[in-house]
């Protein structure tokens, strides 16, 4: 059984989290993400969960990390300024391998910028925003249905790889209303438990240690300092640091193919759009209005880890075009993986590229 609703993207995000078994939300309201917190505040107590309105975003992500270590599926939702405040503890979540979900309904920045307008300006921040080397996963929905589906999926990825996982949406998708189908339940994959005889941060071949949350009966020491497989600080040995941090990056990067989620249209095309989030819908509109096999589209539902192999799906590509709601962020990743010219089509100010704008771009670059 499922139900069909006409719902806002932010509400669908909250429904996706609830369906995936999220039972803790720690947050601080911020436009344009607030409806997620509002929905969770209404719904979580009735679902046996806990909603805490925290004093700020530093505390929000800290509470989420704590809740995750009790074994709960935990999340927060924010936007630019709040996301910036979360950065230090996002690094802590990466270093302590805490499975959790951070939703960023992106708005125009820098600073308080445009609270009520859309942007994709935090795409590099979600990849590199905390200090030091680490790797994370970022999902990029382009519809209300995907706000539900990808939020639920984010929890599975967070658990599978024990990383903070980002739902990188924006004001357009967060606030639009569309039809959405909500299943009664979604299948969930919880973290692999820590095996008997394994140390708490001892990983197998996939680089991901089993998880023993507090209260599971195992003694686990959790620290943001460089640590050994027992979880004890070991902050001066170059080898200890090298081994740990290489593993934190490799457990995600070496699973790029397994994590990847993208759509390909017209793989024989010569001119290829690469998109994520709402600009993908403008490209889809242009391609429906002007059917043309020489134009292709790679639409990423997961931007990080970046699936560079997906670019090779277009063997005849002569030019890649990348519309983004920023001044050119993920385009850098495309540029460093292909030999062909890659053209950034930036747009800032809060509005989506129009079909007419992309048609003009095609006239220049085809």
């Amino acid at each position: 059984m499922s139900r069909t609703e006409f719902m806002q993207g932010n509400a669908a995000c909250a429904e996706g989290a609830l369906a995936a078994g999220c039972r803790f939300f720690g947050g601080y309201p911020i436009t344009p993400s607030t409806e997620i917190a509002e929905t969770m505040a209404r719904r979580l107590p009735k679902a046996g969960g806990v909603f805490i309105s925290m004093e700020d975003e530093l505390a929000s992500i800290a509470a989420v990390i704590g809740a995750a270590w009790t074994g709960a599926r935990a999340m927060t939702a924010t936007s630019g300024p709040g996301f910036s405040l979360m950065m230090e503890n996002i690094g802590y979540a990466a270093m302590t391998e805490t499975p959790c979900v951070v939703v960023n309904i992106q708005r125009g920045g820098p600073s308080t910028g445009q609270p009520t307008r859309a942007a994709q300006g935090d795409m590099l921040q979600c990849r590199f925003g905390s200090h030091g080397d680490y790797s994370t996963i970022a999902l990029t929905p382009n519809s209300v249905q995907e706000m539900f589906d990808l939020t639920a999926k984010a929890f599975d990825l967070a658990d599978r790889y024990r990383v903070p996982t980002f739902l990188m949406s924006d004001e357009i998708v967060g606030h639009m209303r569309e039809r959405v189908t909500i299943p009664d339940a979604v299948e969930v994959e919880r973290p692999r438990p820590l095996a008997e005889g394994s140390l708490p941060f001892e990983a197998g071949d996939d680089g991901v240690p089993g998880f023993a949350p507090f209260g599971s009966g195992r003694a686990v020491h959790v620290t943001g300092l460089t640590h050994d497989e027992r979880g004890y600080p070991d902050t001066t040995d170059p080898e200890a640091h090298d081994k740990l941090v290489r593993r934190l990056v490799a457990k995600v990067e070496s699973a790029r193919r397994e994590i990847a989620d993208y759509e390909v249209v017209n793989p024989d095309a010569e001119t290829v759009f690469v998109t994520y989030g709402p600009p993908s819908r403008t490209v889809e509109q242009v391609m429906r209005d002007r059917p043309d096999d020489s134009i292709g589209h790679l639409r990423l539902r997961i931007v990080w880890p970046f699936p560079e192999f997906a670019l090779k799906v277009f063997p005849n590509a002569k030019t890649f075009l990348m519309p983004e709601l920023n001044m050119g962020q993920v385009v850098r990743e495309v540029q460093r993986h292909v030999d062909q010219p890659v053209v950034s089509i930036p747009k800032i100010g809060g509005e989506l590229h129009t079909p007419a704008e992309l048609v003009r771009v095609l006239e220049v670059y085809r």
């Binding site: 639009m176 209303r177 569309e178 889809e284």
Partner: protein
């Protein structure tokens, strides 16, 4: 066929709710596709408010409204900000008591607010009167669909009043 409908009035009239109800009618009860968006700014109650809906028989890709073919305008400021540039082929429903200007496109004067205040006794249902007129004047969704969407969306205990307002709107739209 793709329709782009824009509602504008002042904050507090239920402009955004009108857009949501119309989108809901199309997407849930008329077996069509709909995307509803709004100007989401710091406008206070009384300022110009705007909500829009795209309705189509096929899945909606580009979600934003570029050139509305249907306007529902319920305040002078709303007209000046969001209605004045209406294209020649558009059609506009105007609350005749609240909007002084008239567009260059085809338009219908709907006395929604005076009907709501007078005949129905509650000014607050003016947007529902307007919605009824919109449906019969343009056929953008069916009467059945809009009735169900209105009933889904209004507070308990006000169903009868809202249905009356909607029916009054149907009549005004038919005559337009």
């Amino acid at each position: 066929m793709r329709h782009e409908i824009r509602f504008s009035g002042y904050g507090g009239q239920g402009i955004i709710l009108s857009a949501v109800i119309l989108g809901r009618a199309a997407a849930l009860y008329d077996d069509k596709y709909a995307v509803q968006t709004q100007v989401y700014g710091p406008e206070a109650r009384g300022g110009a408010s705007m909500g829009q809906v795209v309705i189509d028989d096929t899945p909606i890709l580009y979600p934003e409204v570029t050139e509305p073919d249907i306007y529902v305008i319920m305040s002078q400021q709303g007209f000046e900000k969001y209605g004045i540039r209406a294209g020649e082929d558009a059609v506009m429903l105007i609350d005749a008591d609240l909007v002084r200007s008239r567009p260059t496109c085809r338009y219908y004067e709907i006395p929604a607010t005076s009907e709501a205040k007078g005949t129905l006794g509650r000014e607050i249902v003016a947007n529902i009167v307007m919605m009824g007129a919109l449906v019969t004047a343009t056929g953008v969704v069916s009467r059945e669909a809009i009735e169900r969407a209105v009933l889904d969306s209004v507070p308990k205990g006000t169903e009868e009043l809202n249905l009356k307002a909607l029916k009054r709107g149907f009549e005004l739209g038919e005559r337009a």
